[in-house]
Structures are given as C-alpha cells and as structure tokens.
C-alpha cells in the first residue's frame, strides 16, 4: 500500500499529464460523435455573448454585401408573387374569402425564422457557426439552416437559451445528402478539411451524366432541409479508384466566408415522421 502511495507521489506529474490528455482526447472523440458535451450549455452562453459583442463591430464592414444578398433574395421572392401572374382565361370567378382565419396554417410544413450569424469560421478543420438565436426564440436541434439565397448552410446541433451552434457543410462530420438536379442521383456530401467553399459529393455511380456547371440541390430525404435548396455547382469530377463511384467536387452556393444572415427552417411535421420511424424500429426489435 505504501509503495503505491510513493509511486503516485513520485510520478504525480506524469499521471496528471496522462489524465489531462486523456480527458482532452475523450472530449474530442465524444464531441464529434454525439455533437454534445456536458458543459456546452453554459460555455455556449458565455462565448456567445463575447462573440456577439465582436460581431457588432465587424457587422458594419459587411453591410454592403449583406444588403446586396438581401436585395437579391427579395427580388426572387417578388418574382414568385401570385400578383405577378395573370392568366389569360377570364372564365374563373373572383371570390372573396370571408373567413378571416388562415385556413392553410394547419397544413404548413416549413416555417422560416431569420437568425443573425454571431460567429463563423472557415479556417479550422471542423467549422461551426454560432447563431444569435436560441431555444427561447424557437430554435431547436436538427433544424436546417439556409442562407438568404436559399443555399444550404448546415444543421443546428446544439441550442442554449439565446444561442445555437450550427454544424455547417465545412465540418468533417457533416454528411448531408445532395442530389443532382438534372438526373436525380443522390449522394452524400463530405468535406476534406482543406479548401473552404469546396465540398465533395460521393456515391454517385459511374456512368451518370454529369458535367461541370451542373447544379446540386438538397434531396429532401432528411427532415431538416426541404427538397430543392441550392447546394452548389459542380466544379470537377473524378473517379474514385476504390469503388465505381464518382467523387464530384462542387462550389457551395452559400459563401461561408461572409455569412451574415441565415434562415432556420422548422419542419412542423418532423415529429410525426420521427414517431412513425420509431414505431417501425420497435417492430423490428420485437420480431
């Protein structure tokens, strides 16, 4: 017994070193697997405040670009207005809806919330984006995030009361599914950690007709991001030697260097889809 104590006293520093290293590596592994950590709620709240103060300053330098992108988004929306279209057919009756309650609301699937980007990075190998909007402002885990011109940014992985952390496309654990607009083949996105704004799409079978300049959109298979959101434009196509698939590098349509405003998408039907999936899983277990 005495020897053990002597041993611990003699090698205390080394043991402490191993403990601290072990804890750090545990954090790395644990965090990237479950995207969650015990302390993160308070840490988020604290660092979020500091980041917000800093963002107040840098925001001014980006105002011009932010304005331009908002104008572009507005233009797009104006062009979708019903008032822009006039059918030549005049046989339809003009009806006035006398019910004041919006009867469409119960069928709503997606709800968009604006959010300001408080912190953003592209330099690390695992980049996160912090939004100045949290659970008390309707942000939930698993919400999809798009930029003002409907380019996919990422998915919310963590929420505190006033801030939310988004795992963007520029993160090595981010594996959203993307789809070729022309042919409809679906693959998984991944990022190699080197060049920001360039992400690759894997799992597209060889022989698919794809060319430089093709559009990649979101597949809509997950409950987070609706179908048809712009993901990017194909830049170059390589053949994966190990498999018979293409590796398609594309330029993301969201510019991660200067994100200022984004939209969080709440899927109102996500709950019911999840319930069905869980029922199915339980069935499989009992069988």
């Amino acid at each position: 017994m005495r020897n053990i104590f002597l041993f611990i006293r003699r090698y205390f520093n080394f043991i402490l070193f191993l403990l601290l290293q072990g804890f750090s590596i545990y954090l790395i592994v644990h965090y990237s697997r479950y995207h969650k950590a015990v302390f993160s709620k308070t840490a988020n709240q604290l660092t979020g405040k500091v980041n917000e103060q800093y963002n107040k300053v840098t925001y001014y330098f980006q105002l011009k670009k932010t304005n331009d992108s908002l104008v572009a988004a507005n233009e797009k929306l104006y062009n979708k207005l019903k008032a822009d279209f006039e059918l030549p057919d005049t046989s339809s009756n003009f009806l006035v809806d006398s019910i004041k309650v919006d009867s469409m609301e119960q069928f709503r699937k997606y709800h968009y919330f604006p959010a300001k980007v408080v912190y953003n990075s592209v330099a690390a190998q695992n980049n996160f984006i912090v939004l100045g909007r949290g659970s008390s402002q309707n942000i939930k885990e698993g919400m999809g995030i798009i930029d003002p011109n409907s380019g996919v940014v990422g998915i919310v992985t963590e929420v505190s009361t006033d801030y939310a952390v988004v795992m963007g496309l520029l993160h090595k654990d981010s594996h959203l599914s993307g789809k070729l607009l022309k042919t409809g083949e679906t693959g998984t996105l991944s990022w190699d950690g080197k060049t920001p704004n360039i992400v690759s799409l894997n799992g597209i079978p060889k022989g698919t007709k794809v060319a430089k300049g093709d559009t990649i959109i979101s597949s809509g298979y997950s409950t987070s991001i609706p179908k048809g959101m712009m993901m990017g434009i194909v830049q170059d196509i390589r053949v994966d030697k190990g498999t018979t698939n293409y590796i398609i590098n594309f330029k993301t349509s969201a510019n991660f260097y200067n994100l200022e405003f984004v939209y969080a998408i709440d899927n109102k039907q996500a709950e019911s889809i999840k319930q069905v999936l869980e029922k199915e899983k339980e069935k499989e277990k009992t069988q």
Binding site: F12, N13, L16, F17, L20, Q21, F23, S24, I25, Y26, L27, I28, Y31, A37, F39, S40, A43, N44, L46, T47, V50, N51, Y54, Y119, S121, V122, A123, A124, Q125, N126, F128, V130, E158, V165, K172, D192, G193, K194, T195, P196
Partner: protein, 177 residues
C-alpha cells in the same frame, strides 16, 4: 504588478487576440498562426509543474469553447506545459540560473539562441500535435507536414515581433540560491 494579476490579463488578451484576429487568418487556405500559447511559455520559472499543466489546460479549453470544438487546443497546451520544464533544465546556462529572473525571455535564458530553441521546439510540438489531432481522419502526410512547418514559421515570426513590441522588464532578482 502582481504576477497573478499580470497573468490573468495576459490570459484574456491572448485568448481574444487569438480568437478574433489570428483565427481569421488562413493563408493559402492552409496556414494559421498561433501565439496564444505564449502564455504558457511565459509562466514563471518557479511555478510548480502541476499548476503549469492545469493552467495550460484551462487556456486551451477556453479557446476550444470559443471554437465550439473542445479538446484540441487543451490537449496541445497540456503537452507543451509538460515538456516545458525539461526543456528549461536543458537550456538554462548554469544550475540555479532560473532563480535569477522571474520568467523565460532572451535575457533570462542567457542569450538569443537558447531562447529561440526554447520557443521553436515548443511551437513545433504544439502545432504538430494540434494538426495531428485535427487531421486524424484525413491521413495526407505531406499536407500535414507542410502545414505544420509553415504554420510554425509564421507563428515564430509573430512571436518574435510580439517579444520586440512588448519588452518585458525583468529585474535581476538574486544569484544567491
């Protein structure tokens, strides 16, 4: 100024400068300079190794929580804090000379060369370990080596500039051990 207060101010300044200025730099989408760990290199000679490691862990952990990516910097900081005392013992000109001054600098390490080796080795280890942890799954050895070397050079350049800009006035304490 009290050593404790001085170190708290340093801690805050290094974290802020690193996170808000240097982390935005990304030369050729590859090279990012780091100087925040200068806090660890500048800790007093007399501080116990246990304390050094704990402070290093707190420093790394703080930067990590700003980046929402816990573990990476904490691990690298603890590693250099563990190695630091060995290196000081190797490089210090004579036995007990680390009692003459408070903390490592060009003057207290006895010249430019020993101090440069001290900074250079620790910077290289810090960067190497950090990028190794980050690159766990990417596995491109050349990319990793070039990135480590270039980042080390850029960081060293910035560290030397920092040393020149903020000369630390240190009194010669005593040579009677």
């Amino acid at each position: 100024m009290n050593t404790f207060v001085k170190n708290i101010i340093r801690f805050a300044l290094f974290i802020l400068v690193q996170h808000f200025v240097l982390d935005k730099i990304h030369l050729h989408q590859m090279v990012t300079p780091y100087i925040y760990f200068l806090f660890i290199l500048w800790l007093p000679f007399r501080m116990g190794r246990t304390q050094q490691m704990i402070f290093a862990f707190i420093l790394g952990f703080t930067l990590d929580s700003f980046r929402n990516n816990p573990g990476f910097h904490a691990s690298a900081c603890v590693l250099i804090a563990y190695i630091r005392p060995f290196l000081i013992n190797l490089l210090i000109p004579q036995e007990g000379a680390d009692n003459n001054y408070e903390e490592p600098s060009f003057k207290s390490m006895g010249g430019i060369l020993p101090y440069m080796i001290f900074i250079g080795v620790l910077t290289f280890i810090h960067h190497g370990w950090l990028f190794l942890l980050e690159a766990w799954q990417f596995g491109n050895i050349w990319y990793f080596l070039v990135k480590t070397l270039l980042s080390t050079l850029l960081s060293l350049f910035l560290i030397i500039i920092t040393e020149m800009l903020f000369t630390r006035q240190q009194k010669f304490r005593t040579n009677t051990v």
